[in-house]
């Protein structure tokens, strides 16, 4: 299995994509911004196709589109309410961006010949086994950068997520942190599109994080667990897909991540249901501890 170069590349890129998704995902769930993550992942599709239609590197389009829309979503809401855009605004914006994606798909298809359907499919569903060594290395570097950025802002971000009011009083720049975080979600979406595709990457963001959020109320443990589960899902998915040739890698990865969540759900709902994971949001001790150090 490891003798094949495509598999080694997939493993390298996949590991760091999962690292980024798992760590960013935990905050996405804690901040209840899964829908924003969903929107940004669909924006990635438009970005990739816009780049293709313009004839530039897909990655430029991916990162430019997702980060720009992320900042726009943060700004739309941020001006008046200091909250990120509400879900109706997000929904309308991203429905339109998807419509734009269809336009770019048509523009691109009319420009070139047969291979174009494949490009659209790749943007939507990923092609982790098709990465070159250079692609994989770049993906790994970006993955590490996102992970490092999340770790760097983890403490104030957590504080701002659990209790924005108290955090603001304590001098945490809540609005800017929100914007930076959304930009990171955008970058993660762009990064993960290459591996699992624009339509599926939400699973890698939401499922491991949801599972970790369910299993423990300690935020740092949950962050570690979420990242770990994402990487685990990635590895298992890649191995499964290698073993069963008719199973596409993206499907295998997302199915494994979903299975993690399902297990966490069954495991955590037996003893005293949702109360355990609810504790994080209401826990005065968490806020207190965060405020102290």
């Amino acid at each position: 299995m490891f003798a094949h170069e495509f598999f080694r590349n997939a493993l390298l890129a996949g590991t760091f994509v999962a690292l980024a998704c798992g760590s960013v995902g935990y905050f996405v769930v804690v901040r209840a911004q899964v829908f924003a993550g969903d929107a940004l992942s669909h924006v990635a599709f438009t970005g990739a196709l816009a780049a293709a239609a313009a004839g530039i590197d897909a990655r430029v389009g991916l990162f430019a589109a997702t980060i720009a829309v992320a900042l726009a979503l943060g700004a739309i809401g941020g001006v008046r309410t200091r909250q990120p855009a509400d879900d109706v605004t997000i929904g309308i914006v991203f429905a339109w961006v998807l419509g734009l994606g269809v336009l770019f798909l048509a523009l691109f298809s009319s420009g070139s010949g047969a291979g174009d359907g494949l490009l659209g499919a790749r943007a939507l569903f990923g092609s982790i086994f098709g990465l070159s060594t250079a692609d994989a290395r770049l993906a790994a570097v970006i993955g590490v950068a996102i992970f490092a950025a999340i770790l760097a802002i983890a403490r104030p971000l957590l504080f701002a997520s659990v209790d924005p009011g108290v955090a603001a009083v304590r001098g945490v720049p809540v609005t800017i942190l929100g914007l930076v975080f959304l930009a990171l979600v955008g970058a993660t979406a762009a990064e993960a599109t290459q591996a699992v595709g624009a339509l599926l990457l939400l699973g890698l963001i939401a499922a491991p994080a949801g599972a970790a959020h369910r299993l423990t109320s300690d935020p740092y443990l949950a962050l570690a667990l979420s990242t770990g589960l994402a990487v685990l899902a990635m590895w298992l998915g890649l191995i499964l897909s290698y073993a069963i040739p008719s199973l596409p890698p993206s499907t295998a990865i997302i199915a494994t991540a979903t299975a993690c969540y399902l297990l966490a759900f069954l495991f955590s709902s037996r003893p005293r249901g949702g109360q355990r994971s609810a504790r994080l949001h209401s826990a005065p001790d968490t806020v207190h501890r965060l405020a102290q150090n």
Partner: protein
């Protein structure tokens, strides 16, 4: 997905509304498309109105993409696509509804969204699997995701009308308690409204509407018709009846304009519909920002005070 009739039509719009209209309705396929589009837009506008009011946009989007694995799965085992659509959206609606039911409302919002997100990604992953099992390489994923107004038969239009009638009738029966539960769940619960049953029922209804709409607009673009016209209407007026009517009107107009543009110019209909819907929403927001009346729907409590729900 493209209405590529430029060979037949050649001429662009003459900008004379009457002759343009005659040209639009000259071909049976276009008449069917307009009929189907009108039915779908009207129903999506009404059900979407409640979806926007209940802040269930994410659930709505998830249900709408579920039609992709539904159609792909049906294709794989040789069922009719409609059966697959309805089956998958119904399953997803039940899972999301059940998950929402086990959580206490505000506190667990993140967790509920995580479940919805996991369901969505898993469903899409299944769709991808079905499609690749079916054809080896992806063939016709585009029309499943982005829809096709072409080749709608008269029988399909009748079926659409029937489902729309059933969905709207159900909504008419449950409308009043649903409105109450959507505006103030706590008070509704105290007054004996079965909010959990209503919530689950509404998700199922949303799934039905979405499965229906997706057959025409594709899995990814249903959502534009579900969210944009109602949101525009709710920005424009606080009055419930007027807002519902406006929502339908905007939805139908957006669809007509989108179809007409796609007919006269070469780009995909999905692009035109989403763009027109988006522009309408932005105009509504700008118009409201210029006038000084406060947003009626951003604070949910404002509504019953003005309307006495």
């Amino acid at each position: 997905m493209l209405i590529s009739t430029s060979a037949v039509v050649a001429a662009g719009p003459s900008l004379n509304p009457l002759s343009d209209l005659r040209q639009l309705t000259a071909y049976p396929f276009m008449v069917s498309a307009l009929e189907a589009g009108t039915i779908v837009a009207g129903m999506a506008a009404v059900i979407g109105w409640f979806m926007v009011l209940r802040r269930q946009t994410f659930a709505g989007h998830t249900l709408s993409v579920m039609s992709f694995p539904g159609a792909a799965g049906a294709l794989l085992i040789g069922l009719s696509a409609a059966a697959g659509y309805f089956l998958f959206t119904a399953i997803a609606a039940l899972i999301i509804g059940a998950a929402a039911g086990t959580q206490t409302r505000r506190r667990q919002h993140g967790q509920e969204a995580a479940i919805t997100g996991a369901v969505q990604a898993f469903g899409l992953a299944c769709g991808f699997l079905f499609l690749s099992l079916y054809q080896g390489v992806l063939g016709n994923y585009e029309s499943l995701l982005f829809g096709s107004f072409l080749g709608i038969t008269h029988g399909q239009v009748l079926a659409l009308a029937l489902v729309a009638a059933v969905a709207l009738a159900l909504l008419a029966i449950a409308g009043r308690p649903l409105l109450f539960a959507s505006l103030d769940e706590g008070v509704a619960q105290v007054r004996g409204v079965p909010t959990r049953t209503l919530s689950l029922g509404f998700l199922l209804l949303l799934g039905l509407a979405v499965a229906e709409t997706a057959q025409i607009t594709g899995a990814l673009l249903v959502f534009a018709l579900l969210v944009a016209p109602p949101a525009t209407a709710q920005v424009l007026t606080p009055r419930i009846g007027l807002s519902l009517a406006l929502s339908v009107l905007i939805g139908v107009l957006v669809t007509w304009v989108g179809l007409a543009l796609a007919y006269f110019y070469e780009y995909p209909v999905g692009f035109y519909i989403t763009t027109v819907a988006f522009v309408a929403y932005v105009l509504a927001r700008v118009a409201r920002a210029r006038g000084d009346n406060p947003s009626p729907f951003t604070s949910k409590r404002a509504l019953p005070a003005q309307e006495g729900a």
